[in-house]
Symmetry: C2
Subunit: 364 residues, 2 copies
């Protein structure tokens, strides 16, 4: 039997730098734990646009469809800001999500104890925070038709369509309930059912799935505006949050920021099972390409490394190995190793991206 | 010349209780400052539904169109949760916004010094916070057509439409720039132009208005997800935030929560000038009807009272009198007068809604 395959797409800016450290970790697992991967690498985002005039080449798309897991760094940067909408770096990412049908975006917001003082929130409000946001990722306002800028009565009008089918809501709700069962068994679903019919359908379908198959999980509903408030007021009340693509974008970034360490947060985007039983899957850090520090060896590779840990858990059924890697990262933090983003102004010298990689490898 | 008219719509839950205190303040201005108002009162929300089977009677709508300013308490409550979407209490509020064409929702998020410890954020991050969110209020995903739950290929699909015309963006952008000029002269506009065409048009029109008429104001753009992050990370970077209806709903609630005192936050919703030069206007507290404490005399009337202060400023050109009222509220807080929502667990006895009203009247 051949090794499981990994497609690595470093992308733009610090994506390149953090992915270099992930490659070392992947090799370590092959050498030391007998977990060998067939690794391929390709371009995405601005890097792909520079090479091919498109943020995602069809060949790359095909490779992603075949891979057992895709690891992505980050896309975008100021050099691409003035590109046409249809070829922006982000389109590469959105095409991957859509064509691989990665409907469930898992975004943990975890506050690492060694970093709790980093949050703008008071320590007691965030320390120990461990929530999981499940964001629908392949439908809603990001993809609904009609969309575009149209001429109407002599003026332009910008249109996007929020659209969810029962089936789309059903499957992502199941992902959230399954995750809750492995965690603290609670799901809060967020929408705006008070003002939007798409939110009414969302709530109804989530209720139906719950009643039919997950009555053992505690379910409640919250309007998304109140959800944003509650995330700031008392985030530890949550276990799993289930929400749609657009609300999920905002709420998960809000939740990420609570932890005070954006450079630490991974994500997984999962689709339906492939023939080999593994879900289609793409893993990426929550942070972006950080053009301000790109190319300087300052980036924090932890989020991307922890994204690989999620791959071990969700794609390769190696929960123990995932925990090993997560523990190594926590260990390194507890030892006081810090990239620049993890330092208060008056701290000692930060380590480089590669030095953080060294430390994690040493702790493994 | 007749007195300016005020239409008071207490609505549901604590809306009734807080409005009782506003009425006393209104009378005080008539008696002591010669600012006499012709006050009328009517039903909205669940209260209107109970009386008329609709959350907003046509007669009330007509009165609102005539009034120089409308003051609203809050709408909704669990008794109405199972109502049909089309008659929910919220629909009364949305109808007022839409038919009065109140396109600019002004939501200040101000951290009162005496209450800074209330925030879940660290004191230095929020103390002195004073930002103004300008939310477009009559268009976007709340109102766009088509909308509804439709049958499609044997399953239901929930649809809402995000829709903005150039003219709609233009006018609310002007409101934001005008406000910025009276404040710290900076506007950050938030959308998702990286993934939504409606966001692209939004950004273009805001740029155009800026270039044509407000080049003296500092303008920048931010994706709404990053906006949510920045609000939590370093909210004092903002002066005026300009955003659409749906993003504004979430972001303004997030901003409100930063201050730690939802019971203190007012809002104004403004439309085009009427014949007498005053804008169509509705003022309401940011908080809701708070069914959990309704009818117990515990509610904090400050947000509703400060909404009346906004009415003095934006509808009646009485900026000095508005400041007088705001100063009285600050004074009372500094003196340690607290309703229950403004207390840490170990504090002394809270005052009642009416006692808070007494204290503010005494400070005036
Ligand atoms: C880069 C952008 C298209 C993307 C999104 O909006 O989904 C990002 O913000 C995210 O959350 O993954
Ligand atoms: C009550 C509800 C319809 C309303 C909204 O979503 O606009 C509220 O949340 C607000 O922000 O004023």
């Amino acid at each position: 039997m051949s090794n499981p395959s990994l497609l690595i797409l470093p992308g733009d800016g610090i994506g390149q730098e953090v992915m270099a450290q992930v490659r070392r970790i992947v090799e370590w697992y092959g050498d030391k734990r007998g977990l060998k991967f067939d690794v391929e690498e390709d371009l995405v985002g601005g890097a792909a646009y520079d090479a091919h005039g498109t943020p995602l080449h069809d060949d790359t798309m095909a490779k992603a469809q075949e891979a057992d897991a895709v690891l992505l760094g980050a896309v975008g940067g100021p050099a691409y800001d003035d590109l046409d909408f249809s070829v922006k770096p982000e389109r590469g990412l959105l095409r991957l999500r859509k064509e691989m049908d990665l409907f469930a975006n898992l975004r943990p917001a975890q506050c690492f104890d060694a970093l709790a003082d980093f949050s703008s929130l008071k320590r007691d409000i965030v320390s120990g925070l461990d929530i999981m946001i499940v964001r629908e990722l392949t439908s809603g306002s990001y993809f609904g038709e009609p969309r575009g800028i149209f001429e109407e009565n002599g003026q332009r009008v910008g249109i996007n369509t929020q659209r969810y089918t029962e089936a789309e809501i059903d499957r992502v709700a199941r992902s959230a309930f399954e995750l809750a069962r492995r965690r603290n068994n609670r799901v809060v679903s967020m929408e705006k059912a008070n003002v939007m019919e798409s939110g009414i359908l969302w709530r109804e379908v989530v209720e139906a799935v719950h009643k039919a198959d997950y009555a053992d999980v505690e379910l409640s509903h919250m309007y998304a505006d109140n959800g944003a408030m509650q995330l700031v007021r008392a985030p530890k009340q949550f276990d799993v949050i289930l929400t749609d693509n657009l609300f999920g974008d905002i709420l998960s970034d809000c939740a990420a920021m609570l932890t005070g360490s954006l450079g630490m947060l991974p994500s997984a985007s999962l689709g339906a099972p492939m023939e080999n039983g593994r879900p289609k899957a793409l893993y990426e850090p929550v942070h972006g390409s950080a053009p301000d520090i790109a190319g300087q060896g300052k980036a924090n590779p932890c989020a991307c490394i922890l994204s690989f840990a999620m791959a071990l858990r969700y794609s390769f059924d190696q929960g123990d190995e995932a925990t090993r890697l997560e523990t190594a990262v926590q260990q390194v933090l507890a030892d006081g190793v810090r990239t620049g983003d993890l330092m208060q102004a008056d701290d000692a010298q930060p380590v480089s991206t590669a030095q953080m990689g060294d430390a994690i490898l040493a702790a493994l």
